[in-house]
């Protein structure tokens, strides 16, 4: 079985985010990146499936990212993925979610796979629309938010978390899967994994390798960032020391009463 996992490199949540006022795009160079948290769970799910399936099952990482960031994917290789493919092209800069999903789908089409595991949501774009969009472009069953997965004889069976419980969902392979956090904490890379990752392949493909029939990047986008600003500052408020329960409770109650919240 061949599994492909999509992974986005996103700015470290603790790093200061800057948008270039000229291009109105997030500055991605010179900023420390991490593997998008949801994607680490997707990778964990894929690695668990690989361990269970054994044999010749492989896990390939796919990312669309500027060339300068791609070494960041070694962390995913160190966790246990076999190799990585990066779609990288200057013409992709400024792609919105529709252009991104379109370009990603074209690249993914060139990789043969049985299962495509995608994260549920990115930390930066946070549209959560890429999984559904990829499934449509690639004509795959779209099974999302899995907390348990079984693959057997060309069929995938998933326990899918919903807002109010869970569902058992079954579909044929190849399929697209996204994973819930309940799937289990992503593993740490072992020292051996980190050493081994240095020798693993990170292949790069560009738009020339794909036959696209519509533009991508800024011109191929259907949305346009007009402006951005930090949220109103939320300063440090009042601090009250409560020596006993009642005085603490009364302080909160009075504060809420003043704001007409009780």
């Amino acid at each position: 079985m061949k599994i492909v996992v999509t992974i986005k490199l996103v700015p470290n949540p603790n790093a200061e985010k800057r948008i270039d006022p000229q291009t109105k795009r997030l500055v991605r160079t010179g900023v420390e990146t991490v593997l998008n948290p949801y994607d680490e769970y997707a990778l964990e799910a894929a690695l668990q499936l690989k361990e269970r399936a054994g044999g010749d099952t492989t896990v390939t990482i796919f990312s669309m990212a500027p060339d300068s960031l791609k070494e960041g994917l070694r962390r995913a290789l160190a966790m246990g993925a076999d190799d990585a493919v990066v779609l990288s092209d200057e013409a992709l800069e400024g792609s919105d979610v529709s252009a991104t999903a379109y370009a990603m789908a074209a690249a993914l089409r060139t990789l043969k796979f049985d299962l495509l595991v995608v994260g549920g949501l990115t930390d930066d774009g946070s549209t959560g629309a890429v999984p559904g969009a990829l499934a449509e472009h690639l004509g795959l069953p779209c099974i999302t938010n899995a907390r348990k997965v079984d693959v057997n004889d060309g069929t995938i069976e998933v326990e899918r978390e919903t807002d109010s419980g869970y569902q058992i969902v079954r579909g044929p392979l190849p399929a697209l899967l996204t994973t819930a956090l309940t799937f289990g904490e992503p593993r740490y890379a072992s020292l051996k994994g980190i050493m081994g990752a240095k020798k693993k392949s990170i292949a790069t493909i560009s738009l020339q390798d794909l036959a696209l029939d519509r533009p991508v990047g800024t011109t191929g986008s259907k949305t346009e960032l007009r402006s951005f600003a930090p949220p109103p500052v939320r300063g440090k408020g009042k601090v009250i020391e409560a020596n006993d329960g009642l005085s603490g409770a009364q302080a909160i109650f009075d504060f809420l009463a003043e704001k007409r919240l009780v």
Binding site: N145, K222, R234, I252
Partner: protein, 323 residues
């Protein structure tokens, strides 16, 4: 884009407040665009919900109580929404930013060759573009993003961001035919409800959230639930509490959990890590109860009470109950 179509997500006719927020906003935006507002209601229970939606500023409510909607994972819903969009003509599609809503939106974006803006908290019509306000990067930036003029656009709408307003002349119900020639692939074999009847965390006007400081699962039941109930609100949690298995993951608030914007957020025994902050920073008023005067949560709370949650919360519950 001239018309607006709201997707009314529901289970057997039972829906959440966000559906009515969408229906209200659909009427407003359609008026600004000079088009019509519609809603789409699908699956068993459609008629019941459509009846409720009639008093919103909508022109047409498309419906079909097709049982396949409950038998296959979202495939039929995407088909019906696409069909409704084609019947209505160029439209802006409003989809709730919920777990399944996000899947629907991504798929519809491709079907309709549309642009998309996610997690929208405000919308404005500016000439022939729709400009959407949405927080990005965990709320570190508030962006204004325009859907470029095109036939179709898709927006996922954050629950609790738009006002509910009934009105209008009474919408017309119109059955919509099942799109032909589709074979669905993802079969729902079983559908299990667990937390039925609980107020949805994203929509609660008050959230009382607990963290590692509560020390175990019991205080969530004995301490936080009564306080949340006294406020008519819901209980949430930090990831530390969910990871420890004290509460289910669907109560987790933050970067890898839910984003909530209640009028009042009470953080009990939560330190206020950045990953937690991004899920609740946009709340109206934030009150923290923490033993540690230096806990980071103090930096962005309107009130930090330094003290023992086990003593303070029961007293506060009594005060709120007796108000």
């Amino acid at each position: 884009m001239k018309n607006v179509i709201a997707y009314a997500e529901h289970r057997h006719g039972e829906t959440r407040k966000v559906t009515f927020e969408l229906a209200s906003e659909a009427g407003k935006i359609a008026a600004a665009l000079g088009g019509k507002a519609h809603a789409v209601v699908l699956g068993p229970g459609s008629e019941q919900l459509a009846g409720q939606l009639k008093s919103y500023p909508l022109d047409t409510i498309f419906l079909n109580d097709d049982v396949d909607v409950e038998g296959f994972l979202l495939d039929p819903i995407v088909d019906y929404l696409e069909a409704a969009a084609r019947v209505a003509g160029p439209s802006l599609m409003l989809i709730p930013n919920t777990l399944s809503g996000r899947d629907v939106a991504g798929r519809l974006m491709v079907r309709l060759d549309a642009g998309m803006v996610a997690d929208v908290v405000e919308m404005k019509v500016d000439g022939d573009a729709v400009v959407c306000t949405s927080p990005k990067l965990g709320g570190a930036l508030i962006t204004q993003c325009a859907l470029r003029p095109a036939d179709y656009g898709v927006v996922t709408v954050r629950p609790n961001a738009f006002a509910v307003a009934t009105g209008g002349a009474g919408a017309r119900l119109e059955p919509i035919a099942k799109p032909a020639g589709k074979s669905y692939s993802a079969v729902i074999e079983r559908d299990v409800e667990e937390g039925a009847g609980e107020l949805a965390l994203e929509e609660a006007p008050v959230v009382v959230a607990g963290g590692r400081g509560l020390g175990g699962p019991e205080p969530f039941e004995t301490l936080l639930k009564p306080l949340a109930r006294a406020f008519g609100g819901a209980v949430g949690a930090s990831r530390a509490a969910a990871d420890a298995g004290w509460v289910p993951y669907n109560l987790q608030i933050g970067q890898t959990g839910k984003t909530v914007t209640p009028n009042l957020y009470i953080a009990v025994g939560i330190s206020g890590a950045i990953q937690h902050k991004v899920g609740m920073r946009a709340s109206g008023t934030i009150v923290a109860i923490n033993k540690d005067a230096a806990a980071p949560i103090g930096e962005f709370s309107d009130l930090l009470v330094v003290g023992d949650a086990f003593r303070i919360v029961p007293e506060l519950t009594k005060l709120v109950e007796n108000r």
